[in-house]
Structure formats: structure tokens, C-alpha cells
């Protein structure tokens, strides 16, 4: 799930004791993002941090948190936005393309296999039943994940109200998404500004 988990980095703790990290070559970098894409279940962001910061040591904790923070103020999947920025840092626009190719290309192979099976067996009664059950569970997973992050964040009353409005406007009233986002984004930012002591990560 690429839902926006807050970055929980210790503020400004770049480890000065570490040796300078060599920038990765293109192939090593691509393979790292291939691994991140294929491990994606449970949040590609968590895996990206683990691979880039802990395993390879190409980025410091602080640098990764900065990229993720910027990725979260942009539209689109956070993990992909982050991949673009990290790729660009090491190998320019080509690096950004390599990161995207890795994080999307890896999972594409199993996904195409699944799509092929679906095209072939999708109308078998047992498969239809399994997919009905899976879809209901997947919808529940989407709801449960959002609730889990929301309860963990313990937002201020104003921020919670903004979130509730977004839910009600799109989920219950079925208002147009663009209008809802444009109307609520300034309110959310205002609410966050008014409650700076309860920013991301608590």
C-alpha cells in the first residue's frame, strides 16, 4: 500500500561516522529498484528505505526522509515519485527512468501472468467465486489500512475533520474528486499549520 505513512526519521541524524557512500552504478541501481518493486507488498516505501538506506547505504536516513517528504506533497504514488528523485540524483533523467522501470517492470511479469490466467479462466464458476471473495477482501483491506494509519497518526481535531470531509465528499456524496481535492488541500494545510506540534510522525 502506498498510502502516505509519515516519515519517522530522527531529525537531522545523518551518521557522520559512516564512510562516504559510493554512488551506485546504473545496473546496481536498477537491480535495487527491481528488488523494491518485487518486494512491494506491505508498502513499497518501507522496502525502498530498507534497501537504499540499510542494505546498500546509498542514502542516509535523513536524505531518504527528505525525498519521501517531498514525494508526499506531490500527486501520484509516493514510492514512484521517490524513485524518480533518487534515480535523478544518481544518474540524471536516465536514472529516474531506470528506477521507474525497475519498480514497475519487476512486478509486471507476475501481473501479466495473472492477467493471462484471468483472460483464460476468469469465467470458470470457481474462479468467479474466488475473485468475488478476493475483491470484497481487497476492498476491506483498503478500508482497514486507511483506518490503521489514521488511528496511528492521532491527528489534531482539525486535521481529522479535513480527512472526514474528504471521505464524506467522495465516498458518500460522490462529489467530483478534483473539486474536493482543490477545496480541501488549503484547509488541510491550514489545519496542519495551526497544529505544528502534531505534525507528521506525531
Amino acid at each position: 500500500m502506498t498510502a502516505p505513512l509519515p516519515d519517522r526519521h530522527p531529525e537531522g541524524h545523518d551518521r557522520p561516522d559512516r564512510p562516504p557512500r559510493p554512488a551506485p552504478g546504473r545496473l546496481a541501481f536498477f537491480l535495487a529498484y527491481l528488488q523494491i518493486g518485487l518486494s512491494g507488498f506491505g508498502g513499497a516505501n518501507a522496502w525502498a528505505r530498507r534497501v537504499l538506506v540499510e542494505e546498500r547505504g546509498w542514502l542516509s536516513e535523513q536524505e531518504y526522509a527528505e525525498y519521501l517528504g517531498l514525494a508526499q506533497i506531490l500527486p501520484g504514488p509516493n514510492a514512484l515519485n521517490c524513485a524518480v528523485m533518487v534515480g535523478d540524483r544518481f544518474h540524471g533523467a536516465a536514472g529516474a527512468a531506470l528506477a521507474l522501470l525497475g519498480i514497475l517492470g519487476g512486478p509486471l511479469v507476475p501481473l501479466l501472468g495473472i492477467a493471462g490466467l484471468y483472460a483464460r479462466y476468469g469465467s470458470e464458476p470457481l474462479v468467479v467465486g474466488a475473485l468475488d471473495g478476493l475483491a470484497a477482501a481487497a476492498a476491506g483491506m483498503t478500508i482497514g489500512t486507511a483506518l490503521k494509519i489514521a488511528t496511528r497518526l492521532r491527528p489534531s481535531l482539525a486535521l481529522a475533520a479535513v480527512g472526514a470531509c474528504a471521505f464524506a465528499a467522495v465516498g458518500l456524496l460522490r462529489l467530483p474528486l478534483l473539486a474536493v481535492v482543490l477545496a480541501l488541500a488549503p484547509l488541510g494545510i491550514l489545519a496542519a499549520w495551526a497544529a505544528p506540534q502534531r505534525g507528521p510522525g506525531r
Partner: protein, 177 residues
């Protein structure tokens, strides 16, 4: 490639690219809108098939946005997959490229953190809305309703991998078929 296919691919790109720019927190946030466009407005994908693709994408490894790739594939095969994926990824990626290059100027600034904190509840609200809309669009029956509720509670309140609940959903659905 026939003119009809090309026109379809262009329409696909024009449907997804604008949505990519309001996908706060990721593609799941815009999934109800995508569903409205491809199922109700354009009639490209049957309602049942849309839910099947959502289910398969959630159960497969990879970023959540790949449900969009599957929808593109359903609409226009491999070319559709490529176009839908690029349309969903491209516009935000260009923004990310630009913002990333200004990182030194922006990172750590108070307004970035405030903006981030202010958008997170919106992303969560939209994801919650997507879950509810998709649950309503799923097959309606006592078993599927129980599965949606059960998975919600399982994912919300336990630390177990959601894959267990998805597997249970598929098995229960098969048993009920």
C-alpha cells in the same frame, strides 16, 4: 495499428493523465473516479471485470497503481497497459523530477512539512472513500459483506499480513460459489 485502436489509446491517456495529477497519496485515491470513467462513462470494462482486476492487482506484488496497468490491458491489450501506466506515472514523475532537483532549496523547510501533514488526512480520507465505494461495487451477498467487514477489522486491528485475509477471502468466495 488501426485508427480505432489509436483513438482508443489516446482516449485512455486523456482519461488517466488528468487523474494522475489529483491522485493524492496514490492511485487508490482515484480508483472510484477511474471506475466511473471506464465502467460507467466509457463502458470499456464491465463492472464485474473491474472488481476482478482490482482484486488481482491487490493480491499481486508491486505498487498499488498497477491496478491501472491491468485496466489498460483489459481495455486495449499490451498497448493499453503501456499507455495507461505511462499516463498514470508520467505527469507526477515529471513534477517529481523538477521538485527533486530543487530539493536542496526545499527539503526541511517548514512549509514542506506542513503541506505534507495537511495532505495526509486528505489522502487517508480518499483511500477510505475508495474502500467503501469498491466494497459497494463488489458482489453483494452475505458472504462478501462479511468478508469485507472481517478484512477491514483484521487489517485495522492486527499486525498480521493482509495477505492472510486476502487468501481467506478467495477461499471463502470459492466455497460460496
Amino acid at each position: 495499428m488501426t485508427g480505432g485502436t489509436l483513438a482508443l489509446l489516446v482516449q485512455l491517456a486523456l482519461t488517466f493523465a488528468p487523474l494522475s495529477l489529483v491522485a493524492i497519496g496514490g492511485a487508490i485515491a482515484v480508483l472510484p473516479e477511474i471506475r466511473r470513467q471506464v465502467v460507467e462513462v466509457r463502458g470499456w470494462v464491465a463492472a464485474d471485470a473491474f472488481m476482478d482486476l482490482f482484486a488481482l492487482a491487490q493480491a499481486a506484488p508491486g505498487p498499488n497503481m498497477m491496478v491501472v496497468s491491468l485496466i489498460g490491458w483489459q481495455v486495449a491489450g499490451l498497448a493499453g497497459l503501456a499507455v495507461a501506466t505511462l499516463a498514470m506515472v508520467g505527469p507526477p514523475a515529471l513534477l517529481a523530477l523538477a521538485l527533486g532537483r530543487l530539493r536542496a532549496r526545499f527539503a526541511g523547510l517548514a512549509w514542506v512539512r506542513v503541506t505534507q501533514a495537511g495532505l495526509i488526512p486528505i489522502a487517508l480520507g480518499l483511500n477510505l472513500a475508495s474502500g467503501v465505494v469498491l466494497a459497494q461495487a463488489a458482489h453483494q451477498g452475505a458472504v462478501t459483506l462479511a468478508l469485507a467487514l472481517g478484512t477491514t477489522l483484521f487489517v485495522w486491528l492486527t499486525r498480521w499480513s493482509p495477505l492472510w485475509a486476502l487468501a481467506a477471502g478467495a477461499i471463502a468466495g470459492m466455497a460460496a460459489a
